[in-house]
């Protein structure tokens, strides 16, 4: 056995991220690690790569015990990691990015020519073509990933950890990558793939280990299992279709017409002539591999980004080119995709975080109505079961799930006709997820129009009345809740044709 991790436990304070995890890897094997967000996949791999120290447990390579106190130790032992967010230097050349850390030298000088030749030889050996002299910033994402893999191989890695390797790739690039992984594994390189895309995992790996809540719920051979079994191991329960009241959609609330957002010079548009409506009393889900225009769409329909072409109307009011403030005035509430970047101010109190975006209803003549505010906040804390020390606790001290509940409470409280819910349950526990889903469905019953953007297909399928699939900035297809299946959406997400 090339690698064995035994009884790995990792605690952060009261939180246990990994609990008694066993994991093994053979030479030339592709072993996938799957699980939902927050299941502990990344923590386990950070431990293997020396970025975190386990609270308990041991790591063996070829039978000898290892201890990695830093990534350098792991690299020296032949473990390489391709992070989800690439660790590249955009203004450096491809060759520079690959050889960094073990640069060819002539005296003290960095022999860039030798580096380029070395990279060329490496890329030929492993059949991964790159241009050594190109600037990384100018390489497409697929090539950037290739650079990352070559860098790891150049470090002498025998084990390559890849964190969500296909998240930002186009279908062609995904196909290429999976083939490359196969080829490399035949050359003796072992892979650990962290993923939550079951189909890819089933296609490309030999064994699959499933994590849930920090524990291993099963290690299975890919050829002996299927997506259904894996997903039940992942979520620990059968997927139930939520009872949704039948609603007849009313007036269009959000009307997006031919919206285009241009990319950088020479690049493809980020959003390409996107048109759709969200009507009162319906939830429209937007699915897609992340990076296919979801963020741009969210920013375009909230006023956070100027659109180059097209029109956006909210509650019958043309809000094209208006500021976020005017969008909110026209009746927008917005659960943002990144709760810390956009959705909160960590250093400020729970109360202050609860006011944002709705100052008008909390103030009179420019003065904040403190007692009314405290009353309302206390109500939210109660009804959404937000665990907080007090209303004056810094928002940064709340757990992710409680922070998210606070944001949802804030955005649902004002009964706006239109709600954007972007990744509303990312990284929250099941309980919080149910609370949030109930809140969204309740708003739907109150004739609210909801645009749901999520990378969790199960969530989209569970809540949406209609589903739009974004692919490369375009709407690749539209499905009704009745006809949509996970498979069909996946095909559209990958740029395939609607059947």
């Amino acid at each position: 056995m090339l690698l064995q991790m035994k009884g790995i436990t990792k605690r952060y304070g009261s939180l246990t991220a990994n609990s008694g995890v066993d994991f093994s890897l053979e030479a030339g094997e592709v072993h996938a690690l799957v699980g939902e967000n927050g299941a502990g996949k990344s923590t386990l791999m950070r431990i293997l790569y020396g970025e975190e120290q386990p609270s308990e447990g041991r790591i063996y390579m070829n039978g000898t015990e290892q201890s990695f106190s830093s990534p350098s130790d792991a690299i020296a032992a032949g473990i390489g990691m391709v992070h989800q967010h690439f660790m590249l230097f955009p203004s450096f050349t491809v060759a520079e990015n690959i050889v960094i850390g073990r640069e060819p030298k002539a005296g003290v000088t960095f022999d860039r020519k030798a580096a380029a030749e070395q990279v060329k030889a490496l890329s030929e050996k492993y059949g991964m073509p790159v241009d050594p002299w190109a600037k990384v910033a100018e390489c497409p994402v697929g090539v950037q990933q290739r650079i990352e893999i070559l860098k790891v191989l150049n470090q002498g890695a025998k084990i390559v950890i890849m964190d969500e390797p296909t998240g930002a790739l186009t279908p062609l690039e995904v196909e290429w990558l999976l083939k490359a992984i196969k080829r490399l594994s035949e050359q003796g390189i072992s892979f650990i793939l962290i993923s939550h895309k079951l189909h890819e995992v089933l296609d490309s790996s030999e064994r699959i280990t499933v994590l849930r809540d920090g524990r291993v719920t099963g290690t299975v051979r890919a050829k002996d299992t299927d997506a259904l079994q894996l997903s039940s191991l992942m979520v620990g329960r059968e997927l139930v279709k939520l009872e949704k009241k039948h609603m007849v959609p009313g007036q269009p609330i959000l009307d997006v017409q031919q919206v285009t957002v241009r990319g950088g010079k020479g690049a493809k548009p980020l959003l390409d002539q996107v048109s759709f409506q969200v009507r009162a009393g319906e939830i429209v889900g937007v699915a897609g591999v992340s990076g296919n225009g979801q963020s741009e769409l969210l920013q375009a329909v909230t006023g956070l980004r100027r659109i180059d072409v097209g029109k956006v109307a909210l509650s019958g009011q043309d809000v094209t080119g208006r500021s976020p403030f005017q969008f909110r005035e026209a009746g927008l509430a917005h659960i943002p995709e990144d709760r810390y970047m956009w959705g909160s101010a960590k250093e400020e109190s729970v109360t202050d975080n609860g006011l944002m975006g709705h100052l008008r209803s909390f103030s009179k003549g420019g003065i904040l109505r403190k007692s009314q505010i405290r009353q309302t906040m206390a109500d939210w804390v109660r009804s959404f079961n937000i665990k907080t020390g007090s209303l004056d606790t810094k928002a940064g001290h709340l757990s992710g799930g409680n922070m998210q509940k606070l944001i949802v409470a804030r955005e649902m409280a004002h009964g706006t006709p239109f709600v954007i819910a972007a990744e509303p349950t990312r990284g929250v526990d099941i309980g919080a997820m149910e609370t949030i889903h109930e809140a969204l469905l309740k708003r739907r019953e109150e004739q609210g129009a909801i645009l749901l953007v999520s990378s969790e297909l199960t969530e989209i399928l569970k809540l949406s009345d209609r589903i739009l699939v974004l692919f490369e900035g375009r709407i690749a297809g539209e499905l009704t809740a009745e006809e949509a299946t996970e498979e069909q959406i996946s095909i559209l997400m990958a740029g395939g044709e609607q059947r």
Binding site: A137, G303, R328, E347, E348, M356, G357, G366
Partner: protein, 356 residues
């Protein structure tokens, strides 16, 4: 829930107190190295600052411009803008106030009000210029405010050395003396403390209330805490930046105004740069973590160290610069612990390689 507040207040107080102790410790070492008696020196320092009613009021007089500058800087810091231009804003405020008091016709009260308005406007506009350069051309505010200080100081210096120079005066670069009717009333007979001190305290309280209880104050705090969150919530960064820079500069302008109306009764070249009021104001702000009421306390503390230093120099062998050593080590200790929320915002850059 109320009780929890007290412990946070206590914690907020603990850090400055520890810093003060450490500052005094460093000061003690400095005194010891020059062969002075630490105890005597600190006694003299206390006497120089608060030893008598006269010294106490002098300390408070010195604190007035520092308080105003600190309040201005606090406001900008709260909004997330590193306004280091208090000196220039103060200088133009002082000059404009002097000119208004000299040349606006009418009774003393009218002149006085005109001077105050002119001082606020001049400081505010000079500060807004830096804000405008930032919003319009994305020019680094920290650098522009610094550069504008030099420009303001030299320009004001030119004006009082040539076109506006006192006719037939002693020859120094200064404007004519203001009419007695526009002098700020003194609070106590024979003491230097003037009504500007009351105004400073009132404004500090108003500013604290403004930040805490108004929607604009709320927006300013959120903008400083997380600008993306503010943008998401519909806060207009450009407009709010100009507004907070205007207010910040106007407060610095008031520092200059009250120095002219309450202490010097004219604009004299370098009257504000030499005592370093603006930098003391910035120090006070850092010391108080941009809290307006705390800034008042910190400003008085710094003023006390400065007047105390003069006392030390009068009565011991230790030079008055001992107070700048204490002040700067104090601020260094505080800054080591300061983790304004804006420090760790480089996450976005790490993801650069990811999204092409």
């Amino acid at each position: 829930m109320r009780r929890l507040n007290w412990s946070t207040y206590a914690q907020a107080l603990l850090m400055p107190l520890a810093a003060i102790l450490l500052g005094l410790l460093v000061g003690a070492i400095a005194i010891w190295t020059v062969g002075g008696s630490v105890l005597t020196t600190y006694q003299e320092m206390w006497k120089g600052a608060f030893g008598s009613f006269y010294f106490t009021t002098s300390t408070l007089t010195r604190a007035v411009p520092i308080i105003f500058a600190a309040l201005g800087v606090s406001l900008a810091f709260r909004a997330g803008f590193f306004n280091l231009g208090a000196e220039g804003q103060m200088i133009f405020g002082a000059l404009a106030a002097a000119l208004a008091a000299l040349y606006v016709p009418g009774p003393g009260v009218v002149k006085m009000l005109a001077a105050i308005v002119a001082g606020m406007l001049a400081g505010g506009l000079w500060s807004t210029l830096a804000g405008w350069l930032d919003t319009k051309f994305r020019m680094n505010l920290l650098i522009t405010t610094l550069l504008l200080n030099y420009i303001a100081s030299l320009f004001a210096g030119y004006l009082v050395a040539f076109p506006l120079k006192e006719k037939g005066g002693s020859g120094g670069a200064q404007t004519a003396m203001l009419d007695k009717s526009v002098w700020m009333p003194k609070l106590f007979d024979g003491m230097t403390l003037h009504a500007g001190f009351i105004v400073a305290i009132v404004i500090a309280v108003l500013l604290a209330l403004f930040l805490r209880y108004t929607t604009k104050g709320y927006e300013i705090r959120m903008l400083g805490s997380n600008p993306l969150f503010a943008a998401y919530g519909g806060v207009n960064r450009g407009r709010l930046m100009l507004m907070s820079m205007m207010m910040s500069g106007a407060l610095a302008g008031l520092a200059g105004t009250f120095e002219v109306l309450g202490t010097q009764y004219r604009y004299i070249d370098n009257m504000l740069s030499t005592p370093g009021y603006a930098w003391s104001g910035i120090m006070a702000t850092l010391l108080a973590g941009s809290n307006p009421i705390g800034s008042v306390a910190a400003a008085i503390l710094l003023a006390a160290l400065q007047t105390g230093g003069m006392g030390v120099e009068r009565n011991t062998e230790v030079p008055l610069e001992i107070s700048s050593v204490i002040q700067s080590s104090l601020i260094l200790f505080v800054s080591a612990r300061i983790t304004f929320s804006f420090i760790k915002r480089k996450k976005a850059r790490a993801a650069d390689g990811h999204s092409a």
